[in-house]
Amino acid sequence: MIPLPKPLHDIFRPPPTPGVLGVFAHLDATLEAIRKLRAAGHGDFTVYSPIPRHELEDALGQAVSPVRMFTLIGGIAGCAIGAWITLWMSYDWPTVVGGKPIGSVPPYVVIMFEMTVLFGALSTILGIAFNSAFAARRLGTIQWDPRFTNDKFGIFVPAAPDKTAPVETLLKGAGAEEVRRG
C-alpha cells in the first residue's frame, strides 16, 4: 500500500466496513448467491469479478451508468468550443483567404468534429473515474481478495458483527468456496 497524505487518505482509504466476504469459483454459484441475497433483502452488497458479465449485471439489476451523461455533455461542449474558437478567431482578425467568407462553416466542421471527439473522450474518462471513486467512497474500505482479478468471483455483504451468521450460511449454501468475516 502506498502511503497517502491526510486529505487524500480520507478520500481514497475510507474507514473499514464490517461484513462477510464469499469467494466463488463458478459464475452460476455467484448468480445464485446474488439472487438469494436480493430475495433476503440485501441491496448494498458488492460483487467482484475478473471480467464484466451481462449475467451479473442482470442479476444485480443495475441501472445504466451515468457515464453516458458525461460523454454527451463533453461532446456537446467540445463541438461548441470548436465552433467558437474557429469563428471567433476568424472574426478577431478578419483576413480573406482564397476569396472565401471570413467565417466559413464547412472547413470549420472538421475542427468542430475533432473537438467533439476529444472532449467527449476525455469527459468519458473523467466520468468513469469520478463515478468509480464515488462508489468506492460510499462502500468504504471493504474486504477483497487478489484472486478476484484472476479467476474467482466474490461477494461482499456489509453486516454488523453480530448479524453475520445468516449471511455466511446463505453464501455457503449458494456454493461459496470460502467465506470469511472482515
Binding site: D92, T124, R147
Partner: protein, 447 residues
C-alpha cells in the same frame, strides 16, 4: 466435467509470463531498435547543424521522405483503432487476442508520425507556432487550411488512442499486479489506480469503454481523411481528387493490418503466446488485408481511369509521368505490392501459413510506403504546368537516416511496452471463454 485447457487462470498466467525474462531474441531486437534510433538522432543533429539542405529537397519537391514517412506512420496507426474500436462495436470475438498489440502499435505509430512534421519544419524549437495562440501581431491560425485540421486531427487521435489504450489496460494491470512482486508490484499498484473489479467499477467502465469505442470509430475514419486532404485540397495534379479520403483510409487500414501481422508473428514466438493467438487470428487479419487491399487496387484503377476520362491534359500528363516517368519503379512497386500481392490471400493455404503471411506483410509495408512516396514526391516532381522546374529528386542519406531512426523509435517503444505491460488483453480474452460453471450434475446433488 473435464476442466477446459484454457481457463481464466491459464490466461492470466500465460499473459503474465510475457512480463518475465523474454530471452536473448528480445534483447537483440531491442538493441537493434535502439541502434537505429541512435542513428536517427545523429542524423537529426546533422540536420540541425547544417539545415534541411542535407535532405534531398530540390525544387519543386519540398514535401518528400519526411512527409511520406508521416503519412506512412499515421496509416500504420489506423488498423489498431479499427481492431480495437470498430471490431469492438461489431462484437467480433477474435479481436480480443490481438487488439492490445494493435492498439499499442497505434499509439506508438502516432508518436512516430508526430515527429515528422517537427523534423520537416526544420526549426523544431518553433513547433509551438502550430498551436492556435495569438502571436505578437494578434494573428490567429488559418482554420481554412488542411494543415491546421491535420494538427487537430492528429492531436485528438493521439490523445484518444492513448486514453483508450490505458483504459483497456487498467483491469489487466490489476490482474498482473496481484501476481507480481518487488518493484513491478509497486509500478502496477500505481498504474492500476486501485482497480478491484467491483460491480460498480465494471458498470461505469464497460459503459465508458463503449462510448470511447463509439467516439474512436468516426475519429479513425476522419483522421486519415484529413491527412488525405492535406494533398487533395491542393490543386497539384495527382492530388486534387475527391476519391482521396476513402482511398487513404482503406490504404491506412491495409498497411496497418500488414504491420500488425509483422509485429504479431515475432511477439507470438518470443513470448510463447501460441495458445492464445492462433492461426485463425492471422487468417482474419489477412482477410482484412485482402478486403482493404482490394479497395486500394480499385482506387488505383479509378485514379488512372478518371485521369484519362477527365480529358484534363495536366491530370493525364501527371499519371503518365507516374507510370512511365523516371519514377516508374516506385509506381510499379506500389501497384504490385498493393494491388496484386493481396490477391494471393484468396488462397486459404496462404492465409493459414504464418511464414507466408509474415513475408507478404513486409511487402505490404514496403508497398504502402511507396504509395505515399509516389503520391507525394512523384506528383510534385512531375507537375506538368511547370515543366521547366522539373528536377529529379532523390532521397539522401539524411532522409534514409531519419526514416531508419523512426523505425528504431517505434520498435523501441513497442518492445518496451510488450515486455512491461500485458501485450494481450487478459480480461477480454477471458470474456470470450466459457465462464466457469458448476458441473450440471451438481445442481441435483446439492442441498
Amino acid at each position: 466435467m473435464a476442466e477446459p485447457r484454457v481457463t481464466y487462470d491459464f490466461v492470466t498466467r500465460t499473459i503474465a509470463r510475457t512480463l518475465g525474462n523474454p530471452g536473448r531474441g528480445y534483447f537483440l531486437l531491442l538493441g537493434a531498435a535502439v541502434t537505429l534510433l541512435a542513428g536517427g538522432i545523429v542524423t537529426l543533429l546533422y540536420l540541425l547543424r547544417y539545415g534541411l539542405g542535407l535532405a534531398g529537397y530540390s525544387h519543386p519537391v519540398y514535401w518528400a521522405v519526411f512527409i511520406t514517412c508521416f503519412v506512412f506512420w499515421v496509416g500504420i496507426a489506423h488498423s489498431g483503432t479499427l481492431i480495437s474500436a470498430i471490431l469492438f462495436l461489431f462484437r467480433s470475438g477474435w479481436r480480443t487476442a490481438v487488439y492490445r498489440t494493435a492498439e499499442a502499435m497505434t499509439v506508438f505509430a502516432v508518436m512516430t508520425a508526430g515527429l515528422f512534421p517537427l523534423i520537416h519544419i526544420g526549426r523544431q524549437w518553433y513547433f509551438y507556432w502550430l498551436i492556435p495562440y495569438p502571436n505578437e501581431r494578434g494573428l490567429w491560425p488559418n482554420f481554412k487550411s488542411p494543415l491546421i485540421w491535420d494538427e487537430f486531427a492528429i492531436g485528438t487521435y493521439f490523445t484518444v488512442s492513448t486514453v483508450f489504450l490505458i483504459m483497456g489496460l487498467i483491469p489487466d494491470i490489476a490482474a498482473v499486479r496481484d501476481l507480481a512482486t518487488g518493484w513491478r508490484k509497486k509500478l502496477y499498484t500505481l498504474a492500476s489506480v486501485g482497480w478491484r473489479g467491483t460491480n460498480e467499477e465494471w458498470r461505469h467502465y464497460t459503459r465508458g469503454y463503449l462510448y470511447l469505442a463509439a467516439l474512436a470509430t468516426p475519429l479513425v475514419l476522419s483522421v486519415h481523411s484529413v491527412v488525405s486532404w492535406d494533398f487533395a485540397m491542393a490543386i497539384v495534379p495527382g492530388w486534387h481528387a475527391t476519391i482521396f479520403a476513402p482511398y487513404f483510409v482503406a490504404g491506412a487500414i491495409y498497411s496497418g493490418c500488414g504491420m500488425v501481422i509483422t509485429l504479431l508473428v515475432p511477439i507470438r514466438k518470443l513470448f510463447h503466446l501460441e495458445d492464445l493467438i492462433g492461426v485463425h487470428h492471422f487468417e482474419n487479419l489477412s482477410k482484412l488485408c485482402l478486403l482493404t487491399g482490394s479497395i486500394v487496387g480499385y482506387a488505383y484503377v479509378c485514379e488512372y481511369f478518371i485521369a484519362w476520362f477527365s480529358g484534363n491534359p495536366a491530370e493525364r500528363a501527371a499519371f503518365w509521368y507516374r507510370a512511365f516517368g523516371p519514377y516508374w519503379w516506385a509506381t510499379w512497386t506500389m501497384i504490385i505490392c498493393n494491388a496484386f500481392l493481396p490477391l494471393l490471400l484468396w488462397v486459404k493455404k496462404i492465409r493459414t501459413n504464418i511464414t507466408a503471411l509474415f513475408v507478404i506483410s513486409i511487402f505490404v509495408n514496403i508497398g504502402m510506403w511507396f504509395e505515399r512516396y509516389v503520391i507525394i514526391v512523384v506528383s510534385l516532381a512531375g507537375e506538368p504546368y511547370t515543366t521547366w522546374t522539373n528536377a529529379v529528386y532523390n532521397p539522401t542519406w539524411a532522409d534514409w537516416g531519419i526514416m531508419a531512426g523512426s523505425f528504431g523509435w517505434f520498435f523501441m517503444w513497442f518492445l518496451l511496452f510488450v515486455k512491461n505491460f500485458p501485450a494481450v488483453s487478459i480480461s477480454e480474452v477471458k470474456e470470450v471463454l466459457p465462464p466457469p460453471r458448476r458441473a450440471p450434475a451438481r445442481a441435483g446433488a446439492h442441498g
